[in-house]
Subunit: 486 residues, 2 copies
Amino acid sequence: MLEGLLTLDRAASVPLPDQIYRGVRDAVRAGRLSAGAVLPSSRRLAETLAVSRNTVTAAYELLAAEGVIEVRRGAAPRVCGHDRDPVAAAALSDATPAVGLSARGKDLSRLPWAAPDRARAKRLEPGTPAIDVFPRDEWARALRRAARRPDRREVLYAQTSGLDRLRAALAVYLASERGVRAEPSQILVTPSTQASLFLLATCLADPGETVWLEDPGYLGARAAFLGAGLTIVPMPVDDQGADPSAMAGAPAPRLVYVTPSHQYPTGVTMPLARRLAVLEQARHAGGLVVEDDYDSEFLFEGRPVAALQGLSGGGEAVYLGTFAKSLLPGLRVAYMVVPAQLAPDLAAAQRAAGLYANVATQGALAEFLETGRYRAHVKRIRTVYRGRGLAMAEALRRAVGNLGQVADPTGGVQLTLRFDASRDDVAIAEALQARGFGVAALSTYALATDAPASPVSGLVIGFADATETDVAEIARAVAAALAVAE
Amino acid sequence: MLEGLLTLDRAASVPLPDQIYRGVRDAVRAGRLSAGAVLPSSRRLAETLAVSRNTVTAAYELLAAEGVIEVRRGAAPRVCGHDRDPVAAAALSDATPAVGLSARGKDLSRLPWAAPDRARAKRLEPGTPAIDVFPRDEWARALRRAARRPDRREVLYAQTSGLDRLRAALAVYLASERGVRAEPSQILVTPSTQASLFLLATCLADPGETVWLEDPGYLGARAAFLGAGLTIVPMPVDDQGADPSAMAGAPAPRLVYVTPSHQYPTGVTMPLARRLAVLEQARHAGGLVVEDDYDSEFLFEGRPVAALQGLSGGGEAVYLGTFAKSLLPGLRVAYMVVPAQLAPDLAAAQRAAGLYANVATQGALAEFLETGRYRAHVKRIRTVYRGRGLAMAEALRRAVGNLGQVADPTGGVQLTLRFDASRDDVAIAEALQARGFGVAALSTYALATDAPASPVSGLVIGFADATETDVAEIARAVAAALAVAE
């Protein structure tokens, strides 16, 4: 009887014991084998199916473990009794999910920022570092060293806010390079700046509360804040960066998001007076400044401006940093420096939400920082990025002539090409995206879409990873797209 | 004038240019240097301070970049005008945070589960794998290979729900080992099971909605669900695992959390009939089953029971897995298999929340799975874990005599030692924790603390990482703690 219910497929990737197991299980569930039915012995079934006896035994053991059959020494295997309707079981195979998204799940998942076409890497995408300059051999060796000696204080469930030694190394590095003042315990290591932003938005603001966001501003921040249910109030950007004087009558914020080192996407650096004004306005309005310092290490001329975090007393600003632009986004290691009084609670929340970074990678990063190799690497790529940025700007200027304006980049990994405001930059960007370029339309970074008082048009183009060929091709492609759009 | 305001400390770790920079900046902020004040030339200041001219130039460049001073060729450096009150700036150095925790931030951060004493790794903590059996050299080589050839499709901002090749390898592995039915696109790779749980709780339920949770049950799940603001309804556990028949009149759940392979913390395996009953009850009540299969790979006898996910049609269950028990928690790589229709939205939410796993680690895991090394490793540690589990059970039995009952573990990485219900297991656990053991009191896993109808008392003890010395010492220590408590 059983044999007729089983058909083995020797070419299938499913192992033979699994095929027998599934055949019996499905027959029981479909009611083709009833409670009490006697199965052949493993020896006999093996002979009938022309498989080894071990194959059948493995299947029977699994069926017995699941309570589908009963196997007793000296007795024939039997199908167990099941006090439920086998027809109901068959109806279970309906693939419609039992539940749909929650309201907040919709907030978090249905953002234009997270559109499917961002799921594939494209050339010259803003935010992309130079992959060819990544110190692969040096890094791979450091990583191997870190992975070969797993330390039980680090590789289990402790230090979920970052390895002690990485936090200590970062405290020293950030103090000297960025003027950040922090104890290691104020530094939380996360899997991404996106995770840092989401954790802050969740832990420091409730749904419907307000965040001030630069306009135009970073789409990832907008996604994290909208995803966490916050209300975004645009903060205008001028040639000194975010302008707090425009926020006098605005709703009081919980958070004030700024990119003072190199405003995203305009590239403007915020001078000291403006920094102090931002701190003062945030304090006056009762909000905490979130300072995203994503590419401060790549200022091409002079030294980067001191971080707002260090200019404040440490209570008014959170500092966000990442290894994504200096090494690789794929490390999935970022960090934030939070006020001392908030650090224990934020670390506990991070633990509960599971926002942990890979331990061996943290170990290799600590080694890079401690030995000075990280600093040397940053110095090296700063030169490389500068060269690529100037080459890109020059090529674009020559290609577009008076149809666009591009300033030499002063730092970072992307530059901005501006068009006359009447140009449809979205159409131009889409034409370029269709050709494999990950460039973004400048107007998509604008928040106040209902206020076309100061419309912008242009492209944001990553240059850090650009080869000479990339530069030549994007310049030609932009010129062609502009000619078509003329 | 300036010289009097500057005091250099040559022994300090702060570089000299930074000391000069800070001295000037603070003098301006405090009003000791006014707008328009003339500074000495870099040459003269270098002579006065007995430092190199480069040192002063570096400081001046930074001050100029920040807009604190103005440096023009052929003119003396001058302090810029600042249209703000310098006294207000001084008051900024108050370390009280500008904002406190949000209501949901308190939910997420103030969980007993995340108490500070869990921040340090202890011996024999439940959930700990064997660190000494971790294949460190083989793994370190695989990791090095993965890190040395960064693939731009993987190391940038694409594939944030997991590398395509890891998801493909997992789909094959889970189908053959666990009867999980899934396309690779249904598999989301996350930094931890904790992150998987938090993402599900957030995206599939709104605050105040209900989750059914095994009682006693896994504290991490409780933390994620409470942290996401859900209401927990206990689901009693008997000798077949979670009992859905007891939930007839319970509030309808959005999620039903179960650990069918090896119930946490009791270690019970759920038979097939009960699995089908759980699916049916969840379907009837309109909830999605969340199946945490954290240690299914370590069933000591026979083969693991097929996953609920595969028994359902794929729409009624989410399957959670992890590499934390088979390799190391420090990899910070876990995964979940979600219904096909929910996969795109959950992946988008994961992207917005920044829950990304390290790329090189994922590459090494894919290699381990593809080459069969992972399967071989699991087989090896299954034997090791079994030996350690049986040794631990035997030693405990001998040490505690009739003061406790311990069954041979049937799988997993921890076992349960039960005391008479009148015993204060929290006091016993605390005594052992004070001696460096990370054991947990069984009663702390109970949810229905207000219903002492079936009180439990005992200890949950990790054995997978236990040396012979550990086994001997914990047995002696438990016996001593019981004697004291007598």
